[in-house]
Subunit: 340 residues, 2 copies
């Protein structure tokens, strides 16, 4: 059994160690082949750990004297936070002491630091952010990239995203030839902006990915695609719109049950019925966005993640490391460069 080591930025996120530590302990318990390194203020972390029992051989605390703030500028974090929990966790991946790292910290700073420390894979111009959208089929997810790392991407960048998304999905979901779609505002060939039209022309001739065609944003949750590729500006708008609509609908629904005593009683009856439903749209289940295209696996957790959601993010990093996604991407991108 190969032991995989995951470095955790234990100070990151809205809740810091009060979420990252319980999550780490759950992962440790559920996965006997995992080692974790908790990076952060050693005194704080050890105090938090003192009340728990765990396998000390598989959990290490590594001190880092600084912390990146949630609203800090990426450039400032890079320049002034060389001993931050985030930076030290990424360094462990660089040094081969961990196979992946996870942080719920500042997205911009995490991307800038990961890119600076780990560098992009040869042939990859820009790393991207990829994550999972739930669909009406409980056994089927859709992965979408880029979700916000890159704006003003060229067609060549989008082709690289397609290749990287295809490799990751193939590895993580065991799909031999993932179906790749390009997000567009219509399905006909003449539709779309220049970026999308040029990308479609390149992908149509691709022998590296299984490109199917255009898809509209109302199909993001309906399962025909395995991977949907788009510019980071567009992907981020789709992701944030999804979050906003889900919150909007949930709030309206709650309000209708809170109107009076009768509706409140009905609300109590409904709760168990809606349990599966709530579980299916729970963003925590889909927590964990992978930074793809780097020499190493870096997973970003939502800043507001609770323990259960942070566990998902650690598991995403674990699988990415186990399946050796960066190495597979390196191989495919080399292949792409050779044939083009």
């Amino acid at each position: 059994m190969t032991i995989i080591t995951i470095a955790i930025d234990a100070m990151g996120g809205d809740f810091g160690p009060s979420v990252t530590i319980p999550a780490a302990l759950i992962v440790l318990k559920n996965h006997p082949d995992i080692r974790l390194v908790l990076v952060g203020d050693a005194a704080t972390l050890e105090q938090e750990l003192a009340s728990h029992t765990y396998d000390v051989n598989r959990l290490e605390v590594l001190h880092a004297s600084q912390q990146v703030e949630m609203d800090e500028m990426p450039s400032s974090a890079l320049r002034t936070k060389k001993d931050s929990s985030m930076r030290v966790a990424i360094n462990l991946v660089k040094e081969g002491k961990a196979q992946a790292c996870v942080s719920a910290g500042n997205t911009g700073a995490l991307m800038a630091t990961a890119r600076f420390v780990l560098k992009t894979l040869p042939g990859v111009d820009r790393p991207a952010i990829i994550s999972t959208f739930p669909t009406i089929d409980p056994d089927k997810n859709i992965r979408v990239l880029d979700l916000g790392a890159n704006v003003d991407s060229t067609a060549e960048h989008l082709v690289q995203f397609a290749v990287m998304g295809s490799v990751l999905t193939s590895a993580l979901d065991n799909i031999p030839q993932p179906k790749i779609y390009l997000l567009n505002i219509g399905e006909e060939e003449i539709k779309g902006n220049e970026q999308v039209k040029q990308t479609a022309a390149l992908l149509s001739n691709s022998k590296v990915v299984n490109y199917v065609g255009f898809i509209e944003a109302d199909r993001l949750h309906f399962g025909e695609a395995d991977v949907i590729v788009c510019d980071g500006f567009v992907g981020n708008v789709a992701l944030k719109t999804t979050e906003g609509v889900a919150r909007f609908i949930t709030r309206l629904m709650k309000e209708s049950f809170m109107r009076n005593l009768f509706t409140k009683m009905i609300g109590l009856l409904v709760k168990p019925v809606l349990k599966t439903f709530v579980k299916r749209i729970d963003p925590g289940r889909y927590n964990g966005a992978t930074f793809i295209g780097l020499n190493g696996t870096v997973v970003k957790s939502h800043g507001a993640a609770n323990t259960r959601a942070f566990v998902c993010a650690i598991e995403e990093a674990m699988i990415g490391a186990e399946k050796n996604v960066p190495e597979r991407i390196r191989h495919e991108v080399e292949h792409l460069l050779k044939i083009s």
Copy 2:
């Protein structure tokens, strides 16, 4: 009392006269100051009307021998369908015989024809599509443009969209200085693509609109903005994502009530409670997207609109015509050109 005349493409949409005629009759009944011209195959329309009683002085049937198909290419519709119900309805606006027109037909063909026949207002480079998003405050909507008419827009185009959106919202919602936001993937100044950064720079110096700043897509339903401006590609993705998520959630919810006899019974109890909720997110209530920036008011209804939804679209056209939105935009754009 000034009588407003609205031309209706009675053949357009998935359901044609079986929706457009009942909707027209409802509008006629509710608004004594409205005249309607139903454009389409006269025999079909007259047969459908025969079973109804209505004020014949305020309802006219105008024959058009052709019809634009829902999947027809805009260029083909322009070239070969010069006597289509859609084209003839728009011609009535051009000739001053109607103050606005409404169609549930093919969006691309409607935009191409409206642009060709009516022309854009002086100083407006590109017409845009504007529509309403519901928010958690039942008395507050947000208007968003462009929703898909224009891709690869320049910063100057987006500034024009901001001016047009501001004028329309001010006129339709009686807001003296609508709060204008620019859709972006973060709220900080350094965020965004080139298009958005350049537009922000232009809008920040604007004396014509009340520009507030950036807004993220998860706030589309949360009410701080009056108008949100974006490129048509991005706006269309946000709109389609909203539609998709709403459909996804509704379907999951239905499934959880259909699981067994017990959940079905609870479902029956819940129905009345969820009535207000369903009404609030009903897309029919927000049916009617205005093509803005043309010499005349053109409203596009959803192709799948039912009677009630089509009534909303006609009313949107009615208010646009009553408030003389095109003339107000002409005035503001002239002002914008003078001071810039």
